[in-house]
């Protein structure tokens, strides 16, 4: 039976899980006009969980018979997951109520997905990773199809689900092979295993499963379609939370567990990263839909993030963590703005719909510009610092070619991000397009802008924070 120490270490997860259940149950008793309470509850739970994560820190390397850890990786990546969930929640509320979606279920799924990502960050066992992955993915399948009468939402759910299930099987097969070789599913045991062909196939299959979640080429194809079809706040959420979960597992697995065999996999990850950056950025060049643009952008950023993993060093890992935080802020910020643009109450996801935003609301346009600049990796924003860290890690590891591809891909990305920024400042807005959001969205926007700029100008504290994960990986 779990000891009290075990349970103490699990407080954040328990809070989130409990909140999910509570929201679900309470929703059935609430009249529709009072659904707002659910939002507050969920938010409170996420804040509390985040608080707990920070309070608990990084001192418990093994709980639940070695299944779980509350170390640096857990601390940093759970923080990222909770930040993403909180911001996404702020974005979702208004939309959910406007579109008259089932709020209780929505928030519950959102919380469970967050729980999944958190679990992936803390797992020390492949079974836990698998369960975390499913805890993360299955709610996202459901959320993608959440607007169940909408053809596009259905299609998104269907594609995501089928391909997700397909890739999960590969992941599982990988676990099976690793288990067969090492006799265990535990990551520390895996670290001690010697390099055999069977193990390589097993690890390769694990990588495929995670690469799918992180939308890494060539396992990315679901992402643009699903992002476009899913309801906007869901897209926003999954673009962030799936990345956090997947990269948490990648960090645990590769630099964390297999650092002794890094020659084996760094080349492969570098190749995947290169492919991902090139394809993601190229495909984004000619998009007209903001959602789809951000989908390819999220693919491209997966490539940038993977640079940090491919470096195979702990600096690379903390770079990835910093980048994830930056990515969370800037992507959710951009989505917040996309959410505020509506045409007669409907989602208006074309880039052209942003035309003339600056003349209506210079503050919004300014904020969006900050996000775009940050996504393009230009200073003085978080995006720049994040890229700086991962490029530095790659160069330190001798992966010069990878870093060069990275910087050049960033230049290409500047084209489509700045096109968005430009659109807002040119011309006059279309008559039927409105820009509006409630206080939650505004709050999220402010947090994102301040965060992106603060991380860009004064990155030192956050750098120190994310570097706490380095001890856990060493």
């Amino acid at each position: 039976m779990p000891s009290s120490a075990d349970l103490r270490a699990l407080t954040p997860e328990l809070i989130v899980a409990g909140a999910a259940l509570a929201v679900l149950v309470w929703a059935t008793f609430l009249p529709p006009q009072r659904q707002q309470i659910l939002r507050w509850m969920s938010a409170a739970a996420l804040v509390a969980a985040a608080w707990e994560v920070l309070v608990l820190g990084a001192g418990v390397p093994s709980v639940f018979s070695g299944m779980y850890a509350r170390d640096g990786v857990t601390l940093v990546l759970q923080s990222a997951a909770l930040l993403g969930a909180l911001l996404a929640l702020a974005l979702a509320g208004d939309y959910v109520e406007r579109a008259r979606l089932e709020a209780g279920e929505f928030y519950a799924l959102l919380l469970v997905a967050a729980l999944g990502a958190m679990v992936m960050a803390g797992s020390r066992d492949l079974i836990m990773v698998f369960l975390g992955l499913e805890t993360l993915s299955i709610p996202l399948y459901v959320l993608a199809a959440f607007a169940r009468t909408d053809l596009r939402s259905q299609e998104a759910g269907m594609k995501y689900f089928l391909l997700g299930a397909f890739s999960t099987v590969f992941f599982l097969y990988g676990i099976a092979l690793v288990y067969g070789v090492t006799g265990s599913t535990s990551l520390p045991r895996l670290a001690a295993a010697s390099d055999t062909l069977m193990l390589r196939v097993g690890l390769g299959l694990l990588l495929i499963g995670l690469a799918f979640k992180a939308a890494i080429v060539p396992f990315h194809a679901w992402a643009p379609d699903v992002y476009e079809g899913a309801p906007l706040p869901v897209t926003a959420y999954m673009s962030v939370i799936a990345k956090v979960g997947a990269f948490a597992a990648l960090l645990r697995l590769f630099p964390g567990t297999l650092h002794t065999q890094s020659v084996q996999w760094t080349g492969i990850l570098a190749a995947l990263s290169t492919l991902t950056m090139i394809l993601g950025n190229l495909a984004a060049l000619r998009q007209t839909s903001l959602k789809r643009l951000l989908a390819y952008s999220s693919i491209a950023h997966a490539g940038f993030l993977l640079i940090g993993v491919a470096s195979g060093t702990t600096q690379g890992a903390s770079g990835v963590a910093f980048y994830l935080l930056a990515y969370t802020l800037m992507t959710l910020g951009a989505f917040a703005l996309a959410l505020m643009v509506t045409r007669r109450g409907e989602e208006a996801d074309q880039i052209a719909d942003l035309t003339g935003l600056a003349s209506r609301s210079p503050a919004l346009a300014g904020a969006m510009t900050v996000f775009m600049v940050s996504l393009a990796g230009l200073p003085p924003t978080a995006g720049f610092v994040g890229k700086f860290y991962v490029f530095a890690a790659a160069l330190d590891a001798g992966q010069t070619a990878l870093a060069i591809v990275g910087v050049l891909a960033s230049v290409v990305s500047a084209y489509y991000y700045l096109r968005v920024a430009y659109t807002m400042f040119s011309g006059e807005p279309g008559g039927d397009v409105t820009f509006a959001g409630d206080r939650w969205v505004a709050g999220a926007l402010i947090v994102a802008v301040v965060g992106v700029l603060a991380l860009g100008v004064f990155p030192a504290p956050v750098t120190a924070f994310v570097q706490q994960l380095e001890q856990a990986l060493r």
Partner: protein, 495 residues
């Protein structure tokens, strides 16, 4: 004022001005304009204080400020000024108020956004010239792109979008590789934990040769695109042509200097050996640029394009002086950076004055303007002569020193480059004649009126500077002499 962080004040004063301008009600355009002008003038005031207090005769970095920024990555907030950056800082702060003032007539919409963009741009430019930490430098360097992108893209001519993207993508491609090189430089600077991005420290221990050459190449590419060195220049005519007058002015006067400043600040001291080895290559490109830019200028029909191509030619001279690797050449190069800022900035203002009246940049649409605007014609003549490097104007001193330095390095450099001296007269006089001389051929004569008082104010400081530097270049040369001399010694020492 002793003990004040003057450089930080200098760098962030414009941004503070931008913040003030941002909170003024957007309908009060005049108030916003005055705010912008006041902020830029205040900045100029700070520079004048620094200029006055600047210790002549020492190559040391002065007014130094250093603070921890990102300790984990060895990045510091480190500002300082020496004889190399001082002239450019002065140039920036002189040009900015003029550019802002010129925007009063050429920029009519979204005044607030424009003013904010310009002031942010000024901060980024000053930061670029004053940073002594490579990452800080890079941050400012890249930060220049965004406001300039908007200035071209939002207030520019018909093909502004194309021009803005070309500008930003082209220059960003160059700087991307520089970022890689900066990081490699850092990684080479010592064992983990003792690494640094500090310019002063990196300067003391240049990296070994094969790598040095690669790093040199990456930096050089970024700078060469910015300069722009032939054949990497094609973003320039488009950007210049489409940008609004104040944008063109700042672009020509200051932005291009970032590249040549980079030569002096980073290429030569950090990669002395590679600089020596590749100097002939860069000089060759520079000389091709001198002749090519001039020849192409001559064939232009669009005035802004003509002036833009002339920049390619002029900056070829600057590059030539820099890679002559002699004190005279480098002094001339540095002085010519300032001179080009004044003369080409002035030329763009001249074109701007015409454009404000007729809304055409085509030579064919002009003729006989001197008869309608005699005072303007006189002003334009002086600016043109400065650009042509006529003795007595600033341009001559710079060009003469460059040719002298180049001749000392290798006579053939100077001999070929002297062709540029001839050609600059060819295309400038040609333009001048097409616009100013001949029978009056402008379409709406009534609109071609003499310079207003405000416009005159634009040119007075430029003309004063043209003659001041032309006759008393010592004020600038003496301040940079020690730094340049130390630089040359450093390059000489690395054999």
């Amino acid at each position: 004022m002793r003990g004040w962080p003057l450089l930080s004040i200098l760098v962030f004063l414009p941004v503070a001005g931008a913040a003030v301008a941002a909170i003024v009600d957007r309908r009060r355009e005049q108030a916003i304009r005055w705010t912008g002008l006041a902020a830029s003038l205040l900045t100029l005031g700070v520079v004048l204080v620094i200029f006055e207090r600047f210790a002549v005769g020492t190559p040391a970095v002065q007014f130094e400020e250093r603070a921890v920024w990102i300790p984990a990555a060895g990045i510091a907030y480190h500002l300082g000024i020496d004889g190399i950056s001082l002239p450019l800082v002065l140039l920036t702060t002189v040009i900015m108020p003029l550019a802002l003032l010129s925007s009063w007539s050429s920029v009519g919409d979204r005044v607030k956004e424009f003013t904010v963009s310009m002031l942010v741009l000024e901060t980024a430019l000053l930061g670029t010239f004053l940073s002594l930490d490579l990452v800080l430098f890079y941050v400012f360097w890249d930060a220049v792109l965004i406001p300039m992108y908007f200035i071209i893209g939002l207030w520019g001519g018909p093909r502004r979008v194309y021009a803005a993207f070309k500008f930003i993508l082209y220059t960003a491609s160059g700087s991307a590789l520089m970022l890689v090189a900066i990081i490699v430089l850092y990684l080479q600077s010592g064992p983990a934990g003792a690494r640094t991005f500090d310019w002063l420290a990196l300067r003391e221990a240049p990296v070994a040769m094969p790598l040095q050459a690669w790093l040199f190449a990456a930096f050089a590419l970024a700078f060469a695109i910015k300069v722009p060195l032939w054949p990497l220049h094609t973003w320039l005519p488009d950007a210049h042509t489409e940008a609004p007058t104040p944008g063109s002015v700042v672009l020509a006067a200051v932005l291009l200097k970032m590249g040549t400043y980079g030569f002096l600040r980073f290429l030569l001291p950090l990669f002395p050996e590679a600089s020596r080895r590749f100097a002939p290559l860069l000089v060759t490109l520079a000389i091709i640029g001198i002749l090519y830019g001039a020849a192409v200028s001559w064939a232009q029909r669009d005035m802004k394009r003509l002036v833009a191509m002339s920049s390619v030619s002029h900056l070829g001279f600057v590059t030539l002086g820099a890679f002559a690797l002699t004190v005279e050449g480098l002094q001339g190069s540095l002085l010519q950076m300032v001179n080009h800022g004044i003369s080409t900035g002035g030329l763009f203002l001249v074109v701007g004055v015409l454009y404000d009246r007729t809304h055409s940049r085509l030579l064919d649409d002009y003729g006989g303007v001197a008869a309608l605007m005699p005072r303007f014609a006189a002003v334009a003549t002086i600016v043109m002569l400065s650009s042509m490097a006529l003795p007595g104007t600033n341009g001559f001193v710079g060009e003469f020193l460059i040719l002298l330095g180049a001749f000392r390095a290798a006579p053939v450099y100077a001999v070929v480059a002297a062709g540029g001296v001839i050609l600059s007269a060819v295309y400038l006089l040609w333009m001048y004649q097409r616009v100013m001389h001949g029978p009056v051929a402008v379409k709406e004569r009534a609109r071609v009126v003499e310079l207003s008082r405000r416009e005159l104010v634009l040119f007075v400081p430029l003309i004063a500077l043209i003659f001041w530097i032309g006759l008393f270049p010592g004020a600038l040369l003496s301040r940079s002499e020690a730094s340049i001399r130390a630089l040359v010694e450093r390059v000489e020492a690395a054999r």
